[in-house]
Assembly symmetry: C2
Protein backbone atom coordinates (compact mmCIF):
# COMPACT_ATOMS: atom_id res chain seq x y z
CA UNK A 1 0.00 0.00 0.00
CA UNK A 2 1.36 3.45 -0.91
CA UNK A 3 1.97 6.10 1.71
CA UNK A 4 -0.88 8.14 0.23
CA UNK A 5 -3.29 5.18 0.41
CA UNK A 6 -2.32 4.64 4.04
CA UNK A 7 -3.11 8.26 4.87
CA UNK A 8 -6.47 8.08 3.08
CA UNK A 9 -7.32 4.83 4.89
CA UNK A 10 -6.36 6.33 8.26
CA UNK A 11 -8.60 9.34 7.58
CA UNK A 12 -11.54 7.14 6.56
CA UNK A 13 -11.16 5.04 9.71
CA UNK A 14 -10.98 8.17 11.87
CA UNK A 15 -14.15 9.58 10.30
CA UNK A 16 -15.98 6.26 10.74
CA UNK A 17 -14.92 6.03 14.38
CA UNK A 18 -16.16 9.57 14.91
CA UNK A 19 -19.51 8.76 13.30
CA UNK A 20 -19.90 5.65 15.44
CA UNK A 21 -19.15 7.63 18.59
CA UNK A 22 -21.58 10.36 17.59
CA UNK A 23 -24.35 7.81 17.05
CA UNK A 24 -23.94 6.10 20.38
CA UNK A 25 -25.72 7.84 23.26
CA UNK A 26 -23.90 8.51 26.51
CA UNK A 27 -24.26 5.89 29.25
CA UNK A 28 -26.79 6.43 32.03
CA UNK A 29 -25.67 7.98 35.36
CA UNK A 30 -25.59 4.47 36.85
CA UNK A 31 -23.05 3.46 34.22
CA UNK A 32 -25.12 1.40 31.79
CA UNK A 33 -24.39 1.51 28.06
CA UNK A 34 -27.18 1.34 25.51
CA UNK A 35 -27.31 -2.17 24.01
CA UNK A 36 -26.39 -2.35 20.34
CA UNK A 37 -29.15 -3.12 17.87
CA UNK A 38 -32.01 -3.32 20.34
CA UNK A 39 -34.51 -2.26 17.67
CA UNK A 40 -33.81 -5.57 15.94
CA UNK A 41 -34.62 -7.69 19.00
CA UNK A 42 -37.61 -10.02 19.04
CA UNK A 43 -40.98 -9.38 20.58
CA UNK A 44 -41.93 -10.52 24.08
CA UNK A 45 -45.04 -8.43 24.64
CA UNK A 46 -46.94 -5.19 24.07
CA UNK A 47 -48.75 -2.85 26.43
CA UNK A 48 -51.05 0.15 26.50
CA UNK A 49 -50.61 2.17 29.68
CA UNK A 50 -53.93 3.99 30.03
CA UNK A 51 -52.66 5.82 33.12
CA UNK A 52 -49.98 7.73 31.24
CA UNK A 53 -51.28 7.40 27.66
CA UNK A 54 -48.44 5.42 26.19
CA UNK A 55 -48.14 2.26 24.13
CA UNK A 56 -45.18 -0.04 24.37
CA UNK A 57 -43.33 -2.85 22.64
CA UNK A 58 -41.37 -5.13 24.94
CA UNK A 59 -38.44 -6.75 23.13
CA UNK A 60 -35.70 -9.05 24.38
CA UNK A 61 -32.15 -9.98 23.48
CA UNK A 62 -31.56 -13.63 22.53
CA UNK A 63 -31.15 -14.75 26.16
CA UNK A 64 -34.38 -13.04 27.18
CA UNK A 65 -36.39 -14.37 24.24
CA UNK A 66 -35.12 -17.91 24.80
CA UNK A 67 -36.18 -17.68 28.47
CA UNK A 68 -39.55 -16.16 27.57
CA UNK A 69 -40.37 -18.86 25.03
CA UNK A 70 -39.24 -21.63 27.37
CA UNK A 71 -41.37 -20.16 30.17
CA UNK A 72 -38.28 -19.80 32.37
CA UNK A 73 -38.67 -16.24 33.60
CA UNK A 74 -38.83 -16.54 37.37
CA UNK A 75 -36.03 -15.80 37.67
CA UNK A 76 -34.94 -14.51 34.28
CA UNK A 77 -31.41 -15.78 33.46
CA UNK A 78 -28.30 -13.66 33.90
CA UNK A 79 -27.53 -12.05 30.55
CA UNK A 80 -31.16 -11.42 29.68
CA UNK A 81 -31.94 -7.84 28.64
CA UNK A 82 -35.47 -6.51 28.24
CA UNK A 83 -36.07 -3.43 26.13
CA UNK A 84 -39.20 -1.32 26.26
CA UNK A 85 -39.91 1.08 23.41
CA UNK A 86 -42.45 3.66 24.51
CA UNK A 87 -44.59 5.99 22.40
CA UNK A 88 -47.35 8.46 23.13
CA UNK A 89 -50.67 6.72 22.53
CA UNK A 90 -52.56 8.14 19.57
CA UNK A 91 -55.57 7.14 17.51
CA UNK A 92 -54.94 5.62 14.10
CA UNK A 93 -55.85 8.30 11.54
CA UNK A 94 -58.13 5.91 9.66
CA UNK A 95 -59.51 3.81 12.51
CA UNK A 96 -59.90 5.88 15.63
CA UNK A 97 -60.64 2.89 17.88
CA UNK A 98 -57.10 1.63 17.23
CA UNK A 99 -54.62 3.17 19.67
CA UNK A 100 -51.19 3.18 18.08
CA UNK A 101 -47.70 4.72 18.49
CA UNK A 102 -47.42 8.49 18.15
CA UNK A 103 -44.33 10.45 19.18
CA UNK A 104 -41.43 8.43 20.56
CA UNK A 105 -41.08 8.90 24.32
CA UNK A 106 -38.16 6.76 25.44
CA UNK A 107 -36.40 3.41 25.32
CA UNK A 108 -35.73 1.71 28.63
CA UNK A 109 -33.90 -1.44 29.58
CA UNK A 110 -33.55 -4.00 32.33
CA UNK A 111 -30.25 -5.93 32.35
CA UNK A 112 -30.28 -9.09 34.44
CA UNK A 113 -27.06 -9.75 36.32
CA UNK A 114 -27.76 -11.12 39.75
CA UNK A 115 -24.26 -10.30 41.05
CA UNK A 116 -23.44 -7.01 39.37
CA UNK A 117 -26.85 -5.50 40.15
CA UNK A 118 -27.51 -7.29 43.45
CA UNK A 119 -28.26 -3.97 45.17
CA UNK A 120 -31.21 -3.34 42.81
CA UNK A 121 -32.80 -6.79 42.80
CA UNK A 122 -30.43 -8.28 40.24
CA UNK A 123 -31.42 -5.86 37.49
CA UNK A 124 -29.59 -2.89 36.01
CA UNK A 125 -32.10 -0.24 34.95
CA UNK A 126 -31.46 2.28 32.18
CA UNK A 127 -33.49 4.71 30.12
CA UNK A 128 -32.76 7.06 27.23
CA UNK A 129 -35.30 9.78 26.57
CA UNK A 130 -36.62 11.08 23.26
CA UNK A 131 -35.45 10.82 19.70
CA UNK A 132 -32.05 12.20 20.78
CA UNK A 133 -31.75 9.43 23.40
CA UNK A 134 -30.70 11.53 26.35
CA UNK A 135 -29.65 9.42 29.36
CA UNK A 136 -32.25 9.61 32.12
CA UNK A 137 -31.45 10.39 35.75
CA UNK A 138 -29.45 12.78 37.86
CA UNK A 139 -26.97 10.52 39.59
CA UNK A 140 -25.81 6.95 40.17
CA UNK A 141 -28.84 6.25 42.36
CA UNK A 142 -31.25 6.70 39.45
CA UNK A 143 -32.35 3.04 39.64
CA UNK A 144 -33.88 3.50 43.09
CA UNK A 145 -36.86 5.15 41.40
CA UNK A 146 -37.22 2.10 39.13
CA UNK A 147 -36.94 -0.36 41.99
CA UNK A 148 -39.63 1.49 43.96
CA UNK A 149 -42.08 1.22 41.05
CA UNK A 150 -41.21 -2.42 40.36
CA UNK A 151 -41.62 -3.58 43.96
CA UNK A 152 -45.19 -4.87 43.37
CA UNK A 153 -43.67 -7.47 41.00
CA UNK A 154 -40.78 -8.54 43.22
CA UNK A 155 -42.33 -12.02 43.34
CA UNK A 156 -42.00 -12.37 39.56
CA UNK A 157 -38.35 -11.31 39.48
CA UNK A 158 -39.18 -7.58 39.40
CA UNK A 159 -40.64 -7.71 35.87
CA UNK A 160 -44.19 -6.54 35.07
CA UNK A 161 -44.23 -8.16 31.63
CA UNK A 162 -45.49 -11.70 31.39
CA UNK A 163 -44.35 -12.96 27.97
CA UNK A 164 -47.22 -12.99 25.49
CA UNK A 165 -48.55 -16.45 24.65
CA UNK A 166 -47.74 -17.55 21.11
CA UNK A 167 -48.60 -20.69 19.10
Amino acid sequence: MSQRSKIVLALVLAVCAGAANAAKPAPTPNGIEMPEGYKNWRIIGVAHRTDNNTVRAILGNDAAVAAARAGKTNPWPDGAILAKLVWKATANKHWDKAIVPGDFVHAEFMHKDSKKYASTGGWGYARWVGMDQKPYGKDANVAQECVACHTPVKSQDWVFTQPAVMP
Copy 2:
Protein backbone atom coordinates in the same frame (compact mmCIF):
# COMPACT_ATOMS: atom_id res chain seq x y z
CA MET B 1 -21.80 -46.23 6.51
CA SER B 2 -23.15 -49.64 7.55
CA GLN B 3 -26.52 -50.87 6.32
CA ARG B 4 -27.82 -50.60 9.87
CA SER B 5 -26.61 -46.96 10.20
CA LYS B 6 -28.34 -46.12 6.92
CA ILE B 7 -31.62 -47.54 8.17
CA VAL B 8 -31.35 -45.61 11.46
CA LEU B 9 -30.54 -42.40 9.58
CA ALA B 10 -33.49 -42.91 7.21
CA LEU B 11 -35.81 -43.43 10.18
CA VAL B 12 -34.52 -40.30 11.93
CA LEU B 13 -35.01 -38.23 8.77
CA ALA B 14 -38.52 -39.61 8.31
CA VAL B 15 -39.47 -38.74 11.89
CA CYS B 16 -38.04 -35.22 11.53
CA ALA B 17 -39.91 -34.65 8.27
CA GLY B 18 -43.10 -35.85 9.93
CA ALA B 19 -42.59 -33.49 12.85
CA ALA B 20 -41.97 -30.57 10.51
CA ASN B 21 -45.15 -31.36 8.57
CA ALA B 22 -47.19 -31.73 11.72
CA ALA B 23 -46.01 -28.32 12.96
CA LYS B 24 -46.90 -26.46 9.76
CA PRO B 25 -50.53 -25.34 9.57
CA ALA B 26 -52.55 -25.92 6.41
CA PRO B 27 -52.58 -23.08 3.87
CA THR B 28 -55.52 -20.66 3.80
CA PRO B 29 -58.42 -21.25 1.36
CA ASN B 30 -56.90 -18.62 -0.94
CA GLY B 31 -53.72 -20.70 -1.15
CA ILE B 32 -51.35 -18.81 1.12
CA GLU B 33 -48.78 -20.69 3.22
CA MET B 34 -47.84 -19.52 6.70
CA PRO B 35 -44.44 -17.77 6.57
CA GLU B 36 -41.67 -19.59 8.41
CA GLY B 37 -40.35 -18.04 11.58
CA TYR B 38 -42.67 -15.03 11.69
CA LYS B 39 -42.44 -14.88 15.49
CA ASN B 40 -38.78 -13.93 15.06
CA TRP B 41 -39.51 -10.97 12.77
CA ARG B 42 -38.78 -7.42 13.86
CA ILE B 43 -41.23 -4.90 15.21
CA ILE B 44 -42.98 -2.31 13.04
CA GLY B 45 -45.72 -1.21 15.41
CA VAL B 46 -48.20 -2.08 18.14
CA ALA B 47 -51.92 -1.44 18.54
CA HIS B 48 -54.75 -1.65 21.03
CA ARG B 49 -58.11 -2.09 19.29
CA THR B 50 -60.60 -0.76 21.82
CA ASP B 51 -63.51 -1.71 19.54
CA ASN B 52 -62.83 -5.44 19.76
CA ASN B 53 -60.67 -5.57 22.90
CA THR B 54 -57.49 -6.86 21.39
CA VAL B 55 -53.84 -5.83 21.49
CA ARG B 56 -51.49 -6.41 18.60
CA ALA B 57 -47.85 -6.58 17.61
CA ILE B 58 -47.15 -5.74 13.98
CA LEU B 59 -43.98 -7.43 12.75
CA GLY B 60 -42.35 -7.50 9.33
CA ASN B 61 -40.06 -9.72 7.32
CA ASP B 62 -36.69 -8.22 6.31
CA ALA B 63 -38.13 -6.55 3.19
CA ALA B 64 -40.96 -4.98 5.17
CA VAL B 65 -38.72 -3.76 8.01
CA ALA B 66 -36.22 -2.28 5.55
CA ALA B 67 -39.05 -0.39 3.84
CA ALA B 68 -40.55 0.73 7.15
CA ARG B 69 -37.25 2.09 8.46
CA ALA B 70 -36.48 3.82 5.18
CA GLY B 71 -39.95 5.40 5.16
CA LYS B 72 -40.74 3.76 1.81
CA THR B 73 -44.15 2.26 2.47
CA ASN B 74 -46.40 3.88 -0.09
CA PRO B 75 -46.29 1.55 -1.84
CA TRP B 76 -44.67 -1.19 0.20
CA PRO B 77 -42.20 -3.17 -1.96
CA ASP B 78 -43.05 -6.52 -3.51
CA GLY B 79 -41.79 -9.22 -1.19
CA ALA B 80 -42.76 -7.36 1.98
CA ILE B 81 -44.83 -9.39 4.43
CA LEU B 82 -46.56 -7.87 7.44
CA ALA B 83 -47.55 -10.10 10.35
CA LYS B 84 -50.04 -9.15 13.01
CA LEU B 85 -50.10 -11.14 16.24
CA VAL B 86 -53.39 -10.56 18.04
CA TRP B 87 -54.29 -11.25 21.67
CA LYS B 88 -57.32 -10.57 23.83
CA ALA B 89 -56.70 -7.37 25.77
CA THR B 90 -56.34 -7.96 29.48
CA ALA B 91 -55.20 -5.94 32.48
CA ASN B 92 -51.74 -6.63 33.86
CA LYS B 93 -52.23 -8.55 37.11
CA HIS B 94 -50.02 -6.14 39.05
CA TRP B 95 -50.80 -2.86 37.25
CA ASP B 96 -54.39 -2.78 36.10
CA LYS B 97 -53.96 0.38 34.02
CA ALA B 98 -51.61 -1.56 31.73
CA ILE B 99 -53.53 -3.39 29.00
CA VAL B 100 -51.48 -6.38 27.87
CA PRO B 101 -51.79 -9.63 25.89
CA GLY B 102 -54.15 -12.29 27.25
CA ASP B 103 -55.26 -15.31 25.25
CA PHE B 104 -53.88 -15.62 21.74
CA VAL B 105 -56.54 -14.83 19.11
CA HIS B 106 -54.91 -15.17 15.72
CA ALA B 107 -51.94 -14.39 13.49
CA GLU B 108 -52.67 -12.64 10.22
CA PHE B 109 -50.51 -11.66 7.30
CA MET B 110 -50.39 -9.34 4.31
CA HIS B 111 -48.07 -10.47 1.49
CA LYS B 112 -47.21 -7.77 -1.02
CA ASP B 113 -47.00 -8.97 -4.61
CA SER B 114 -48.46 -6.42 -6.96
CA LYS B 115 -48.82 -8.93 -9.81
CA LYS B 116 -49.80 -12.14 -8.05
CA TYR B 117 -52.39 -10.40 -5.85
CA ALA B 118 -53.46 -7.67 -8.30
CA SER B 119 -57.13 -8.59 -7.81
CA THR B 120 -56.93 -7.73 -4.09
CA GLY B 121 -54.97 -4.49 -4.27
CA GLY B 122 -51.56 -6.14 -4.57
CA TRP B 123 -51.78 -7.89 -1.21
CA GLY B 124 -52.38 -11.54 -0.35
CA TYR B 125 -54.31 -11.78 2.91
CA ALA B 126 -54.09 -14.75 5.25
CA ARG B 127 -55.09 -15.56 8.82
CA TRP B 128 -54.65 -18.53 11.12
CA VAL B 129 -56.90 -18.66 14.15
CA GLY B 130 -56.07 -19.68 17.71
CA MET B 131 -53.23 -21.60 19.28
CA ASP B 132 -53.90 -24.47 16.85
CA GLN B 133 -53.54 -22.05 13.90
CA LYS B 134 -56.60 -23.06 11.96
CA PRO B 135 -56.75 -21.44 8.49
CA TYR B 136 -59.44 -18.75 8.36
CA GLY B 137 -62.09 -18.52 5.66
CA LYS B 138 -64.55 -20.68 3.77
CA ASP B 139 -63.34 -20.41 0.20
CA ALA B 140 -60.85 -18.84 -2.18
CA ASN B 141 -62.67 -15.49 -1.97
CA VAL B 142 -61.84 -15.09 1.72
CA ALA B 143 -59.70 -11.99 1.04
CA GLN B 144 -62.71 -9.98 -0.16
CA GLU B 145 -63.66 -9.50 3.48
CA CYS B 146 -60.16 -8.16 4.21
CA VAL B 147 -60.20 -5.82 1.21
CA ALA B 148 -63.58 -4.40 2.26
CA CYS B 149 -62.24 -3.52 5.72
CA HIS B 150 -58.97 -2.14 4.35
CA THR B 151 -60.62 0.15 1.78
CA PRO B 152 -60.37 3.25 4.05
CA VAL B 153 -56.56 2.97 3.75
CA LYS B 154 -56.40 2.37 0.00
CA SER B 155 -54.47 5.66 -0.30
CA GLN B 156 -51.69 4.30 1.93
CA ASP B 157 -51.31 1.06 0.00
CA TRP B 158 -54.12 -0.69 1.91
CA VAL B 159 -52.19 -0.82 5.18
CA PHE B 160 -53.54 0.66 8.43
CA THR B 161 -50.20 0.50 10.22
CA GLN B 162 -47.92 3.49 9.96
CA PRO B 163 -44.49 2.28 11.11
CA ALA B 164 -43.73 3.45 14.63
CA VAL B 165 -41.14 6.23 14.84
CA MET B 166 -37.81 5.10 16.35
CA PRO B 167 -34.59 6.94 17.15
